[in-house]
Symmetry: D2
Subunit: 338 residues, 4 copies
């Protein structure tokens, strides 16, 4: 059994992790921490029948622990991760703290110096479809952001094949409210979000752009500019991205579909839909799937890629467990919903 | 024109009031106060195009004002109301502070002494269907609670006619989330309330029971015991109450329907549905209506009354404007959605 | 491996069954039938990546099949079930066709003669908490209705202990829209059901009353009269029942909680909540759990039981698989979400 | 009083029209037709307390009628409109039947010949912000589609000023379910649409593109190509469009905001939001407003326009009444929610 600890168990990604880990046949839970519910049962934080005592992060006992998941707020993970690594415990971090390769990019998007730039060098970006070969030997996995997962998996085959005619993409993404976390805010108050829909941080300002540009640029071998428009959907879970790209004139729908099929044929969690079908949240909610479609917008060179994931599964905790399976040599799909 | 001021304009009932008053043909808005948004425009508090500057309550100018609406938190209204009354301004209070006739009942349910028991004596309970004769001359109107409005209007004809075989009723009520106000709480966080449904404070503990027992008891001429189960519905607005009573054996459906028709034939806002139809939130949301049905549960003496209102309209701000119309001799329906 | 067939795979309970069975470690799916999608892939009926060819019921091959689940419309199951039984295949029926023990009760509630009254005699009512001893040897299991599951599990300890002071109960139940099935109707059209809430068939008319009265009466040893008010909630899944009963004066909260704890201590799927907590849909959606609370409404003899289930899991397909596990001597919880 | 008739009163736009007209101070309703509810009361079709008898279209009496609104399905309006016009009754058509100026465009997008091409010539496209001078004298007003209203009002100032650097725009639009009408379909079944989100007909295939290209092209004086991606939002009402355009390098945010302010300063229903705010459905639902924002996506020439309307109000029935006010010389805002 893998002994796993969870830091930050009472946010939405933390609780999702707990639920996946408690059903995982090869994991035993070593500890689960919570700042606000330390000393209480998990059932006091979430409506569940689990008897699981939450502890303060300072009291988490790392001895005998194989891996910790950090589901802490952005900017708060470095000391926790560093301490675990020092004690020989592998770390899967669900925050944004280790996703950018370069400290200057981190400074540009987060407005402050990174506290442990050496760890940035070492961290592996935990998108198995990109880094399946490097993840197994990683000490520190930086689990991707939810929006980047949907956008990168949507574009991966096109970008890797060098089909973009223009080094700019537009991603119009829509996310369920759990993506905004469990902290209270007027924007996520029921009456404000229900029967409502709204864009936020649109243009070139959302921090997830940094990850998208980094990974798409690496795939392309040259910079890709991402225009990104996130929107808040009145649903609990799910992200759907509608992505606009210009492809080379030589691109045909048959060839492009072949590319996607080749890229994803062996991927257990990524599905290209049959022609004529489009992704929906219903395809993916409650599963670790990413569902993708690609089509021509018209005959003038613009193409539309649509992709859907569950932001708490493939967009966070499901992908984190997929990474854990890779770290420990288990079947990649173990304990996850296909 | 009636010059009206609104205390507490940036809660849900306050904003609903503002919207009704701004469309009311005989009202000009003198001021609107807000603690949290003082000095800002209303459009910074709510997504609306109104240019209306919010002021701190201390800066509200009562000179030339005919009436103030108090949409302040429970327990916070007495000084504001008293000050307005002293300056000759009539008061319509949407809080619970003046709804109970007796100071000892107030103490029993609110756990503290009332700050101005003389005002309790003077206040008129602002349910026009009960007190239409007394409201016009009132200085202080205590606008009823949302749940009590739905339950009292549902039972009024039965109780007044002395048809209850047992002095106990069970009201199983379901309310939209705006009834819980605009203050942030985990319970009203989108992800917690959406795709969820839950009871709270069930039994004999919710404070609205005090109003129901007071008014139903007055109608009956003897005490009525109310068992009350509120539930939180994943909708923005609306209350539906399903009420169980035992009636005398002599009650027939024809006679009972006649009673309701007689009671409500001249009521502009209360509608008895045709036999075979049942109330729904859709009947009432966005209107000042109360829609009612009454039927036998079986042939053993239990009857079921169902009633629906919009908690922000007939359950709060719409009813407050109905009371204002009565106070100033205007047509009772002016500015309201029938 | 158990070879299982599913009749009626493209309704909501049928698809839920398919999803549970495909993840069940000891089941292989022999066939899945659909009238409207025969010859198509499951992914054409539901947004899912399964490659599963749907067949017409007439083409289902029963050879080598151990058990069939019938998720057909009410009134349509008898020939299918009879055929399977004749071929030595065990049957778990999710319709209402075999739930009533007596043909005259069936006639009373369904308005026609039962087509195979001998099967009524033989069928075992598949509520494991009541009939765990009889289910393993059954040929034909009548899986309970969703509302009855929530009401019977809520009242079981009280009724069995003879604590009811009055042989009448009031169940005010609220169900998500999937309970109404996948057939199109105006009532379940998105715009009509969303941001709405409404009662239907209230009083003593809903057919699920027959099951409740049958099983509660059997537990009590004498007739129990059920007043039942179903309501349509704007959520996809979940039933919450608020149940009003009168208990003997001797009942104390401590003793009553002891009764529930004793009744459910060994039940893997039924949870009595700690005092002070109340059930919500969030406790149960996506799981096979039933969550229960019991409390005094006041000190006058009325008590309130609240209970929640997922109507597609413990209220239908989850419970069906629980019964299948019992039929084949598997751990009762195998393949189900605790 | 204007005597108005409504054809097709029991769809969502028809019922919205009835509600607006019944509250309009200068309109009396001459008749309301319905195919499916002919001979019944409106309250049998919608949960409302109106006593309004629905008639079959064949029995609608046009004598003394000033104007009829046609809220019939696309393709079904020509005979009804022609008959009214012959009898000297003015027509406001909410279908798509008269929106395209050229019969060949109609054939291209609708796949059949138009039945009355002369009426296409005569009809005025009823977007008051574009054709306020022509509408008052029209006999036949073609009320715009919901999506085109949101997109055209979003782009009008930019296109008219010749600021587009590229004759192609991308409109990523999201609509509430009432836009799909009241006819039953699996896609609009509650359980399928709730907690879901999905694109449909994306690219260059949705028929509303014809209107957008026609009106934007006319404004620009040369063809504009529209890529259009509609999505189905799990809300009842509202459209939000996120529109991507490339502007000339000379464009500055200050100058562009000035353009919008100049264009919309005197428009009662179109509001440019203050910088830093973004449109949401909450700004517009239940009103005849269009709320707009414009901003640079980055510094590379791409700009983003966001615009929101209520699809049943400014997107259909509210705009139809705005047109009626213009036709009869009434204040343009009469009876509408600002």
């Amino acid at each position: 059994m893998i002994r796993a600890g969870v830091y930050g168990a009472t946010g939405y990604t933390g609780f999702e992790l707990i639920e996946i880990l408690m059903r995982h046949p090869r994991v035993s839970l070593a500890f689960a921490t919570s700042r606000s519910y330390a000393g209480k049962q998990l059932s006091e934080a979430f409506p569940c029948p689990y008897d699981l005592r939450l502890v303060d992060a300072g009291q988490a006992d790392l001895s005998g622990v194989d891996v910790v998941f950090c589901a802490l707020p952005h900017g708060a993970t470095v000391p926790t991760a560093a301490q675990a690594l020092e004690q020989g415990v592998r770390v899967i971090d669900l925050s944004a703290d280790f996703r950018l390769r370069h400290a200057d990019e981190y400074r540009r998007w987060y407005g402050k110096d990174h506290e442990a730039p050496a760890l940035l060098d070492e961290a592996v970006y935990g998108l198995p479809e990109l880094y399946r070969d490097r993840i197994p030997s990683a000490r520190l996995v930086a689990n991707p952001g939810c929006y980047p997962t949907s956008v990168i998996l949507g574009l991966l085959p096109l970008v890797r094949a060098g089909l973009l005619a223009e080094a700019q993409i537009i991603a119009d993404s829509k996310s369920g409210v759990s993506g905004a976390g469990r902290s209270l805010s007027l924007k996520t108050h029921f009456v404000e979000a229900h029967e409502n829909f709204s864009p936020y941080n649109i243009g070139h300002s959302h921090r997830h752009i940094a990850e998208m540009e980094q990974e798409l640029g690496a795939l392309a071998g040259s910079p890709i500019h991402v225009i990104f428009s996130p929107h808040l959907l009145p649903v609990n879970r799910g992200i759907l991205s509608t992505i606009y790209v210009r492809l080379r004139e030589t691109a045909t729908i048959a060839a492009v579909r072949d590319l996607y099929q080749a890229a994803y044929a062996d991927e257990p969690f990524v599905h290209l839909l049959p022609q004529g079908q489009l992704p929906s949240l219903r395809h993916v909610v409650g599963t670790n799937r990413c569902v993708v479609q690609v089509q021509q917008a018209d005959e003038r060179g613009t193409w539309i890629v649509t992709s859907a994931i569950d932001n708490l599964q493939k967009g966070a905790s499901g992908q984190a467990v997929q990474n854990m399976n890779l770290l420990f040599g288990l079947p990649e799909t173990l304990g996850l919903v296909l």
